[in-house]
């Protein structure tokens, strides 16, 4: 069949020769067979793994081009979890071919949506010809769409959309992927209404789960909670194995002020797919909110168990479990959880040291062992002073609270001030901070502190913006250099520092030094908030001036 727009040279089996493949199956004979097939296709480097944990270990230590992973891997992680974790930790990237091997059809499988869908499925038993055909067709698709993916990675969304439309115009060959990618671009651009309209159009072509999922997310983001609830409920009714729909339904219900219903939904989901660590964590948090301490303890214990020996283990699971156990009148158990945490995380892991130390102080405080509580906090402070690593905002807030509680109010407030100045546009954090002060009976004092801190940043920024508007670009640049020096974690200040510097280059010519500087500020913005609204626009300006991509943004290579 002569078809118009195939890629000029579709990949051939020769292409597979330099590839590295990983075969994951709990059944040794099957691994041997598939390895034989891959060898028959010329793949030179083939290794195998017998369960999800060892597969992830392999993937974390070496890069693979092809992963053939059985879905049902026995008692441990299933294939979908292997895929999602590998993706989350960037063990695999866009060019990695990940195929899910299934025993029968998909009926019994937990399904991922959008970015969590494997490249294809292989139903057992399959032959060498089938494997070859599927590998080559996935590879062809990846090569055809590679440019679009790379354009998205550097946040050049307008161009990426143009490329998508060009691809659609060429013919229907990869239409499903292109539509999926197009939805993701709309979502990344942040226009929820436009994104929703697009997904609705796709969903109208036949109730496609990923499109409905996109509709639901947009509805949530626009605050249409009732509509979002209906969408996610419908999605679950259509296919009760689309697990992400449960997570989002719970999120919607919680936002609607029904944490009890949210918990019910998450409990149903953990029944279907109990080994999902993130969901156990969410369930633990919502159960804690609902004062259902028994469920909270159970969920956090599960999260800890599933996290053991995995890159997903988090000190916060131990810390929160310890706090819940104290509330449940089991302080001894609580201390033993924290002892376990000390064993699990290395001393030089600052984030862990802080979180565990704070939980310890909390537990001792509640046990009325004041001295030990104080000692725990001092340990935390010593650790933060020694290190230059930044701890997450919520942990810092927790530290401030502990300090204030232990009588060191000035130190605590100073931490809050710095934290707010680095994140003065983060509404969620500001709300949390207000809540914290209210809980400490310091609502008024807290409010004043917050306002002053925000005000200071706004003034600092406005002054610089004024210089830019007046056309004093050199002055503006050096002004923002100083401001960014003062607030290296503030996204707005860094964004404006980059902008001033780039305007200056446009007008007065570029130097490699000023390009480096712009790059540094842009990277700070990206690290601080990859979804920062103005970032794509700033990056466009950067590309115009420097004529080169930003190396820290491209991950497909």
């Amino acid at each position: 069949m002569a078809y118009l727009h195939k890629d000029p040279v579709p990949p051939t089996v020769d292409k597979l020769k330099h590839y590295k493949a990983l075969v994951v199956d709990d059944f040794v004979n099957f691994r041997r067979t598939v390895k034989g097939m891959l060898a028959g296709l010329g793949v030179a480097h083939i290794v195998d793994a017998f369960d999800g944990e060892s597969a992830l270990l392999r993937l974390s230590s070496s890069k693979y081009d092809i992963v053939l992973c059985d879905y049902n891997l026995g008692p441990g992680k299933d294939g979908q979890q292997v895929f999602e974790e590998a993706k989350h930790y960037q063990y695999i990237n866009y060019m990695t071919i990940f195929m899910m091997v299934t025993a029968e059809n998909s009926m019994d499988m937990v399904m991922g949506v959008v970015e969590h869908m494997p490249d294809d499925y292989l139903m057992k038993p399959f032959t060498k010809q089938m494997l070859e055909k599927k590998l080559l067709s996935v590879l062809e698709k990846k090569i055809a769409l590679r440019e679009i993916i790379e354009t998205i990675e550097v946040m050049d969304y307008d161009r990426a959309l143009t490329l998508c439309d060009e691809a659609i115009g060429k013919g229907p060959k990869h239409i499903r992927e292109v539509l999926r990618i197009k939805g993701e671009i709309f979502a990344k651009r942040g226009d929820h209404q436009q994104t929703e309209a697009f997904y609705k159009e796709v969903a109208a072509m036949g109730k496609i789960p990923w499109a409905l999922f996109g509709v639901g997310k947009c509805q949530y983001q626009q605050g249409w909670l009732e509509e979002a609830k209906v969408t996610f409920t419908q999605l679950i009714k259509m296919n009760n194995k689309v697990m992400a729909a449960y997570d989002w339904l719970a999120k919607v219900l919680d936002a609607m002020g029904s944490p009890q219903e949210a918990q019910t939904v998450l409990m149903k989901a953990t029944e279907i797919s109990p080994r999902a660590l993130g969901r156990q964590r969410e369930l633990g948090a919502i159960a804690r909110k609902n004062q259902d301490l028994k469920t909270a303890v159970k969920s956090f214990r599960s999260a800890i168990t599933f996290g053991k020996n995995s890159a997903f283990k988090a000190p916060s699971d131990y810390a929160t479990l310890a706090r819940v156990l104290v509330d449940a009148d089991s302080p001894q158990e609580s201390l033993s959880v924290l002892g376990d945490a000390h064993q699990t995380f290395p001393r030089d892991d600052l984030g862990a040291t802080v979180e565990i130390g704070l939980a310890e102080s909390f537990v001792y405080q509640r046990m009325n062992r004041k001295e030990e509580a104080k000692e725990a906090i001092n340990n935390v402070i010593r650790a933060t002073e020694k290190s230059s690593v930044k701890v997450p905002a919520d942990v810092e807030l927790e530290l401030a609270k502990a300090l204030i509680l232990s009588g060191d109010g000035e130190k605590g407030k100073e931490i809050v001030r710095k934290l707010i100045q680095s994140n003065h546009e983060n509404e969620e954090l500001i709300t949390d901070t207000k809540k914290m002060f209210a809980g400490l009976d310091m609502a008024k004092e807290g409010q004043e502190l917050l306002e002053a801190a925000v005000e200071e940043v706004v003034e600092l920024n406005n002054e610089g913006v004024k210089l830019v508007k007046e056309g004093e670009l050199a002055k503006a640049t050096s002004y923002f250099d100083k401001a960014a020096e003062k607030l290296p974690y503030n996204t707005l200040i860094n964004a404006n520092a980059a902008y001033a510097c780039m305007l200056d280059m446009k007008k007065n010519g570029k130097t490699s030094e000023s390009i480096q500087k712009a790059k540094k500020y842009l990277e700070r913005v990206y690290r601080g908030n990859p979804q920062y609204g103005d970032l794509p626009r700033l990056l466009t300006v950067y590309r115009e001036i420097s004529k080169e991509p930003l190396s820290w943004m491209t991950a497909t290579a």
Binding site: F27, S106, K241
Partner: protein, 233 residues
């Protein structure tokens, strides 16, 4: 034995079947290797090998069907819809069956527009086609036509052969006995019946705007043999 120790017999069956299916898969792969080695050397026993392959694939499809129906009974019959190229889907089913069918001199023709895309569960639909094509090893004489197109807002996938055709008891239109599936066709008459029953269930689980998928079997068609049609809304 207390309650928590005892297993449901259906679970035992399913688990055993699953395990047996794994072994079957190994047999199948071993045979596939044998066949290709044989082809290189030009052995004379190839015909028997293909007969073996046909029977193994038949067994495999039976297992898939059983396990799927068992799971559907346990939970609901959940399908995963996505937007797929129909020709890719047909192509995949044909690639798997081609060596077997051509070994008997059966000529397969595919007619499907390249720009035909539809929303369906690819694994389930490919599975059905795969099973149907395998059966043609016994049923058709030497011709087979696989085609797809649009008809009244439905996607129609059709299989036509020049074999003896369906016996009267298998000629049906599942729309006419929906509700009481198999009221006038005995789905339980051997493997063909169960195969049709499974296709019927899969088709029926595809719904859109209040319309359900269905299957139709008749005799005649371009080769004056059997005609199997799968309609998806």
């Amino acid at each position: 034995m207390d309650d928590s120790d005892s297993l449901e017999f259906s679970d035992i069956l399913a688990s055993t079947m699953h395990d047996t299916k794994n072994s079957l898969g190994m047999l199948y792969n071993t045979l596939d290797t044998l066949i290709s080695q044989c082809q290189e050397k030009g052995c004379t026993v190839q015909k028997d090998h293909f007969l073996l392959q046909y029977e193994l694939r038949r067994l495999n499809h039976n297992f898939i069907r059983m396990l799927s129906l068992y799971k559907a009974k346990k939970a609901n019959f959940s399908i995963s819809l996505d937007y797929h190229s129909v020709s890719d889907c047909l192509d995949e089913a044909i690639v798997v069956n081609e060596p077997l069918l051509t070994s008997k001199g059966i000529d397969i023709e595919l007619q499907c527009p390249e720009d035909l895309f539809w929303s369906f569960d690819k694994e389930l639909i490919t599975g059905i086609l795969d099973s149907m094509l395998n059966n043609e090893y016994l049923y058709t004489k030497d011709k087979l036509m696989v085609s797809a197109g649009r008809e009244d807002g439905y996607l129609v996938i059709q299989l036509e052969d020049n074999g003896p055709g369906y016996p009267d008891c298998f000629v049906m239109d599942s729309r006419q006995n929906s509700g009481s599936a198999g009221s006038h066709v005995s789905f339980l008459t051997g493997s063909t019946g169960l195969g049709l029953y499974f296709s019927f269930l899969v088709a029926k689980s595809h719904t859109r705007d209040g319309r359900e998928g269905f299957i139709r079997t008749m005799n005649g068609g371009i080769y004056n043999g059997s005609v199997f049609s799968l309609y998806l809304p």
